[in-house]
């Protein structure tokens, strides 16, 4: 099952790697990633689509623990 997550991520060294790495290691296969400048200067707006049978809310909580992730919400 695919899940979409919307993230606001600080533009810091390794920030996107941490997001992708966390998703993969926790059992959520990234199938699409869109990233660009966010509304706030110095932030990425990220739309991440992952495939997993696991609860997307759990991934959202794990991503929220990353220091560079300012906001995360599960869209679907």
């Amino acid at each position: 099952m695919n899940h979409k997550l919307n993230l606001e991520v600080r533009q810091a060294e390794g920030a996107l790697l941490r997001v992708l790495g966390t998703a993969e290691r926790r059992g959520y296969q990234p199938v699409a990633l869109e990233a660009g400048p966010g509304e706030i200067t110095g932030e990425f707006a990220v739309l991440l689509t992952v495939r997993s049978e696991r609860d997307p809310g759990l991934l959202a909580r794990q991503l929220a623990n990353l220091h560079d992730v300012r906001h995360v919400e599960v869209l679907s």
Partner: protein, 555 residues
């Protein structure tokens, strides 16, 4: 002042007194600055030990541990220690030298992408590309390491940044973020489950100590009078001799602890994470229980078992908010009766040293504040089972990562941090050889660590699994050609002796504890002795195998 000098000044500003490390090319500017610094540096003999000693220091003192090494192999050698701190939520700041910024990405000598390699095992990390970043980076590193659920933070410092001008003042000291209290609604829901329960059990984890909630936990347990089981890292949250304590749960837990969990109608998981070694197959774990899960980390909720009542936030506030007297006398009596029936026996027959009895006697003799570090394997489980801990911080064990080689450097870190306390290392003959060089550190700094080597000339835990579950095919676990450990310890300048009979146990313990300075005791054990009880892999915690010597069951 250059970046290196500023770094050391900023570390001192954060309250750092001791660094565990090993010098090398890329970190040379910092070691140059260290030459005239008042910071204490403990020179280990392998970078892995620097991280593990800083870990032991952090666990024993409650402060952030700091380690420092060079780039390339120095940094990669640090990784196991960083992973260990990550898995066990230990606050650590690891500083690695790096090649100069113009050389980054060119495969320069001793260049490795430690920032990238360590991403999955750090709470956060920084690659400092300009000296201007240093004040903020150092403060953030300490704040992140110690706030909320603690963990390791890496600072990768290129050599040119360390040499660049840095005439800054350290920023205000890092403020550790206090964890928010749980929501009143979450507490009210959890309380309603608690009131309705007739057979509750507390499942206590290492998070209780990390949250500084030991006293609140003890008050909660005593007010509610709920029977308590503990994970490996939760041992000591309630003193081992407390009436309500049923013992460790899980693969090598007590039968009464596992039975209580399996039969309870409500499980209060407090600062624990449903680790597979504790639960066995999650579908068979506490099958009839509702779950209240108390933790500071929202990402633990539902990771392995979805709680009926998640309570996220500061454990102390959660425990005070949930405390209420319960009418569960019949259940408690039944748990305590099983505890009494299954009490561990220390009357093993035979003339050989019995490791459980030895450890129990060691604990009885080691009065005063005593930290016990251990490695990983049979001896680790025996310490957990037979060394009664009065406080959780007294046990230094690699719980999550299960890293052989942890014990000796962790004992060093604990003894450096707590010179007033006694530190005992209990290790195995497989584990000790993974960081044996650290005996040189013990000798160099005259650290009075008491080392007990439980030597069965095998990788005992793997051998035990091979005997019980792999048709006695002892593949690569026979350590028949171990070195002469007594001579080896003496070569490092550490007094050493060996015993092999039960009759020698008490005298050896007396000598070990009374002799000043470090002592190395080799205890020769029967290689066939196994750790009981054990839950076979893939079985539920209801299906424990017990010691056939005491049960009459077939071995």
């Amino acid at each position: 002042m250059n970046g290196a000098e500023f770094l050391l000044r900023a570390l001192q500003h954060e309250g750092v007194e001791t660094i565990f490390g090993y010098p090398g090319g890329a970190i040379l500017p910092v070691y140059d600055a260290l030459y005239t610094s008042s910071l204490r540096h403990i020179l280990v003999r392998h970078e892995q030990a620097a991280a593990m000693a800083a870990d032991g220091y952090a666990r024993a003192t409650g402060k952030v541990g700091v380690c420092m090494v060079t780039s390339g192999p120095g940094a990669t050698n640090l990784l196991t220690g960083i992973a260990n701190a990550f898995m066990d939520s230990v606050p650590l700041v690891a500083i690695t030298g790096q090649v100069a910024t113009p050389l980054l990405g060119t495969d320069a000598f001793q260049e490795v992408d430690i920032f990238g390699m360590s991403l999955p095992v750090v709470k956060h990390s920084f690659l400092v590309r300009s000296a201007n970043e240093l004040p903020q980076v150092v403060r953030e590193a300490f704040r992140i390491a110690a706030s909320g659920r603690p963990g390791p933070v890496l600072i990768d410092l290129p050599k040119d940044v360390a040499l660049a001008p840095a005439d800054f003042s350290p920023l205000d000291r890092a403020q550790i973020n206090s964890s928010p209290a749980p929501s009143p609604a979450a507490l009210a829901h959890a309380k309603s489950l608690l009131r309705a329960s007739r057979k509750p059990v507390i499942y206590a984890g290492g998070g209780i100590r990390l949250a500084g909630a030991v006293e609140a936990f003890r008050a909660f347990a005593e007010l509610t009078a709920i029977p308590v089981v503990a994970t490996l890292k939760g041992l000591g949250a309630l003193p081992a001799d407390h009436e309500l304590f049923l013992g460790m749960m899980g693969m090598h837990g007590t039968k009464c602890a596992n039975d209580a969990v399996q039969n309870c109608d409500l499980l209060l998981c407090i600062g624990a994470r449903f680790d597979d070694r504790a639960t066995g197959p999650i579908k068979t774990f506490a099958p009839d229980a509702k779950i209240i899960h108390l933790d500071v980390d929202p990402a633990e909720m539902g990771k392995r078992r979805t709680p009926d009542a998640p309570v996220i936030g500061d454990l102390r506030a959660a425990l005070w908010g949930l405390a209420l007297p319960l009418k569960i006398d019949a259940w408690r009596r039944s748990c305590l009766a099983e505890k009494k029936t299954g009490a561990v026996r220390y009357d093993a027959p035979g003339e050989s040293v019995d490791a459980p009895r030895f450890l129990n006697r060691l604990a009885a003799a080691a009065t005063g504040e005593t930290f016990v570090a251990c490695d990983v394997g049979q001896h680790q489980m025996r310490v957990a089972q037979h060394y009664p801990f009065a406080r959780p911080e007294h046990q230094l064990t690699s719980g999550g990562l299960g890293a052989m080689g942890y014990g000796l450097p962790a004992a060093i870190g604990a003894q450096v941090g707590r010179p007033d306390a006694r530190v005992i290392l209990v290790t195995g003959d497989g584990s000790i050889l993974m960081n044996i060089h650290e005996l040189a550190t013990i000798a160099r700094y005259k650290l009075p660590v008491k080392i007990v080597l439980l030597d069965n000339q095998f990788l005992g835990m793997v051998r035990q699994w091979q005997e019980l579950f792999y048709q006695e095919k002892y593949s690569e676990t026979d350590l028949y050609d171990n070195p002469d450990f007594v001579k080896l310890a003496e070569a490092f300048g550490i007094p050493a002796f060996a015993i092999e009979t039960a009759a020698q146990e008490d005298e050896a313990i007396g000598r070990l504890l009374q002799e000043p300075g470090p002592v190395f005791l080799q205890v020769r054990l029967d290689p066939e002795a196994k750790v009981w009880p054990i839950v076979p892999p893939g079985k539920s915690n209801s299906q424990m195998l017990e010691d056939p010597a005491f049960t009459g069951a077939p071995s």
